[in-house]
Symmetry: C2
Subunit: 394 residues, 2 copies
C-alpha cells in the first residue's frame, strides 16, 4: 500500500473540511503536501504549505495525487487534464466541470491510465456513483430520483417548517455555509442538474449535455405555492430524476416536485440529500445522508482518496455496454403551474388542463404538458417569474 | 469480459428468485448451467438441468462460478470450501455458515486466490458489505446499527399496525415467504446476529464469535410490551448494533429496542431492512431497501455474480490493518425488562432501577444493567419467557 501525498487545489468549505478530517484521523498514509490557492498570503489560521502557483504542485515529484476542490470550472478542467496527462490520479468535487466535460475526461483516463474519481461531487456523503458503478451494474436499474442539492433542500425545509420567506431562508443557508458562492448554481437547479448528468452516465451509460435537459429551480417559489402544497398534504422538493421507460427511452428532468408523504424523499429535511434507486426486481433502495457542508463532503473526498491507495478507477461499464437507452423529451408531465399575469398562461401549450384557479394576485392551473415543451420554453418560464412543479397523481 | 456459467446449489426462495431474475434479463453473459438440489425429481415447473449429485457440478469444466443458496450450514461450508480449493469463485447467501467460519474462509480465499462474495447474505438488497469494504474504509466509522432481518420486522410491524398477536403475525410472515424455514433463526435473533458478525468484520476488521455476543429475540413479546411502547410514543424493532466507543473498545448486541420517532430506523416498516452507518465526520448515512423475498435477494446475488465478471474480491482491508478495536461486554445498557413471575426480577443484577411497575399479570422495570450480565444470563432470560429491550433515553 502506497503513501499518498496530496497536491490540493482550493481551500474553500470542502478543501478546509478535507484538511481538518485528514488532520483529525492522523493517518500516516495520507497527507496534504501543498495547497494551491488564489491568494497565498491570506491568513487561514492553519499550518500548511500554500502556494499560488500551480506549477509548484505539478513539479513536486513527491506529490502522487491531485485533489481539485476549486469553484471555477475552467481552471478546474485545466488542472484535472494536466494531472491526468502527467499520469497523476485525481479526485475532484467540481460537478459543473465534470458534467460539462465527462466524455473528454473518460477518454483522457483511458488514454493515460490515470484515474479520476468524483463521488464527492454527486451527493456529498452518499456514495451514489460508486454504488451505481459497482453494485447496480446490470440491466435491472430503472430509475434514479433524488434530492441532490443540500442548500435548496435546506431553504425549502425552512420555508415549509417555519413559514419564512424564500429570501430569508436563502440568507440563512448562506450563513451556514450550505450554499455555493454563486446562489444561482443552487437555487436555479444547476447544481442538481450537473449531478444528474454524472449520475446518468454511471446509471445508464449515456452522457446527455446539461443544456438538453429541462431544468427549473425554486427562486420563484412564493406563499401561494407553499399554501397549495400544504392544502394537498404535500411538500415541495427540488428533484433530479432520470428514468428508463419500458421502451428503453430515457427521460431526465430537474424541477420542483409536489411530493406526497408516501415518497421516501418527502421526509428528507434540512440540508440532507436522499436518493431513491429503483430496479426491476429489488424495488426501491433509498440512500440518505448529509449533502452539504465541509466535513461530510470532505469525508467523501477522503473516501475517494482512500480508493486510490488500491488503484481503484471507474470502469464506466455501462458506457461500454453494447446497448444504451435513448434520451428523449417525448413524454408528458402532470404539472402545477402558478403565474401572476394572465398572459403567462399561454407560455406553455398544455395538452390538457385539469384544474384552474384565478384570483386577483395569483393564478394556477394543473395540467398536462410535454417535457419537450417545458424544455423549449424554459427561458420564457424563468423570465416570467412563474412557478412550475411536477405534480404526480400519487 | 468472461461469460459466467453458474453451478447453483439450492433452489429455495432465493435460488428460484435468482433463476427468474437471470431469465428475465436474458443476458448472454450469465447463465445457470446446472442446479444441485436434494430431490432432483420434484417438479419445479422450470426448464433447468437439475442434479442431486454435487460432483456433477464440480466435474463440469464449463462451470466457472459456484452460487450457494442452501439452508444447511454444514453442507454449505463443504461446497464453498471445495469450490474455493478448485479455484472457483463463489457467491453465497448463507449467513449462518459465513458467520461461523469467516476466519477460515478468509484464509482459504488468500491461499487459493479464489473470491467468495456474500453481500446478499447481509441485508437482502442493500449493498452494505460492499460499501463498508470499499467506501467507509477509513478510521472515520463509529457505528453500524440496523434492522437486519426482514421477517421479524414484518412481524413487529403487523403487531404494531394491526394489533394482531405475535403468533398470527408470524404465521402471515411465513405465508409470504419472508421467514426462514426454521422460524427460530429469525425470531430469536440468530439471523440478525450472523449478519452483524459479518458486518463487524467489514466495518471494524475484527471477527467475534456469535456465541460471544448478547442476542435476544422477539418471541416473548406480548401485549403489555406493545402497550408500553405505544404509551411512550415508541416502536419496538429488532436491532443489530456494533459501535466503537471513544476508548476504541467495541460493543455489539442483537436485541429489541424501543425506538423513538427521531431515529431513522423507527420508520422502517414491513419486511424492509434499514442500516444506519455513523461516522466521525459525515454524521449518519441511512440505507434502506427490501431485506427479504426471492427477487430482491436474488438481485443482490446477481450483483455479486456480476462483480465476479471483473474479478472483484473483498480485500478485508480492516482485518489487515495494524490496529483493531477490542471487543468488550463492559458497558451499561438502559433496558425495559418485563416479567410475569416476581422471582424473575432477580435474574438480572441491575445496577440501578429507574422505574418499577407491578400488576396482577405483568410487571416491568426500567433499569441499568451491564452487557456482560445480559450475556451471562441470556439462557435464563430466554427460558423464563421475559422480554428485554434496550430503552435508550432519546
Amino acid at each position: 500500500m502506497k503513501k499518498l501525498n496530496i497536491g490540493l487545489f482550493g481551500f474553500g468549505t470542502v478543501g478546509r473540511g478535507l484538511f481538518d478530517v485528514i488532520g483529525r484521523i492522523g493517518s500516516d498514509e495520507v497527507s496534504i503536501r501543498r495547497i494551491c490557492v488564489r491568494n497565498k498570503r491570506k491568513d487561514r489560521g492553519v499550518r500548511a504549505c500554500f502556494t499560488d502557483n500551480p506549477d509548484d504542485i505539478f513539479s513536486d515529484p513527491d506529490i502522487n495525487v491531485i485533489v481539485e476542490l476549486i469553484d471555477e470550472a475552467d481552471a478546474s478542467f485545466e488542472y484535472v487534464c494536466r494531472a491526468l496527462r502527467h499520469g497523476l490520479p485525481v479526485v475532484s468535487g467540481n460537478k459543473k466541470m465534470i458534467a460539462a466535460h465527462l466524455p473528454e475526461l473518460i477518454a483522457l483516463q483511458e488514454e493515460t491510465g490515470a484515474a479520476l474519481l468524483y463521488d464527492a461531487s454527486a451527493c456529498g456523503s452518499i456514495p451514489v456513483i460508486r454504488n451505481l458503478e459497482e453494485y447496480y451494474d446490470n440491466d435491472l436499474l430503472t430509475s434514479v430520483k433524488g434530492i441532490l442539492n443540500g442548500s435548496t433542500n435546506y431553504i425549502l425545509w425552512r420555508m415549509f417548517q417555519d413559514g419564512i420567506s424564500y429570501a430569508e431562508a436563502l440568507r440563512q443557508a448562506q450563513e451556514l455555509g450550505f450554499a455555493e458562492s454563486n446562489p444561482s448554481l443552487d437555487v436555479d437547479g444547476w447544481d442538481s442538474l450537473f449531478k444528474l448528468i454524472i449520475i446518468t452516465v454511471h446509471a445508464f451509460g449515456i452522457y446527455v449535455r446539461p443544456e438538453d435537459v429541462f431544468r427549473f429551480g425554486i427562486s420563484s417559489l412564493n406563499d401561494q405555492d407553499v399554501r397549495f402544497a400544504r392544502e394537498k398534504g404535500r411538500r415541495i422538493k427540488l428533484v433530479g430524476h432520470v428514468e428508463k421507460l419500458p421502451d428503453s427511452s430515457l427521460i431526465m428532468s430537474v424541477m420542483p416536485q409536489l411530493l406526497s408523504p408516501n415518497k421516501y424523499i418527502y421526509s428528507v429535511d434540512e440540508e440532507f440529500n436522499g436518493v431513491v434507486i429503483k430496479g426491476l426486481f429489488y424495488g426501491k433502495q433509498f440512500m440518505f445522508g448529509r449533502g452539504a457542508g465541509g466535513y461530510p463532503t470532505g469525508s467523501s473526498v477522503l473516501s475517494d482518496i482512500s480508493a486510490l491507495k488500491y488503484d481503484y478507477h471507474y470502469q464506466y461499464k455501462k458506457i461500454h455496454a453494447e446497448e444504451h437507452p435513448e434520451y428523449t423529451l417525448d413524454t408528458k408531465f402532470r404539472i402545477y403551474y402558478r403565474y401572476s399575469r394572465p398572459e403567462h398562461l399561454a407560455i406553455l401549450p398544455f395538452s390538457e388542463i385539469l384544474e384552474q384557479y384565478t384570483s386577483t394576485t395569483d393564478n394556477y392551473v394543473v395540467g398536462l404538458v410535454s417535457l419537450a415543451d417545458l424544455h423549449a420554453h424554459q427561458k420564457e418560464l424563468e423570465e416570467a417569474g412563474v412557478f412550475v412543479a411536477a405534480y404526480p397523481r400519487d
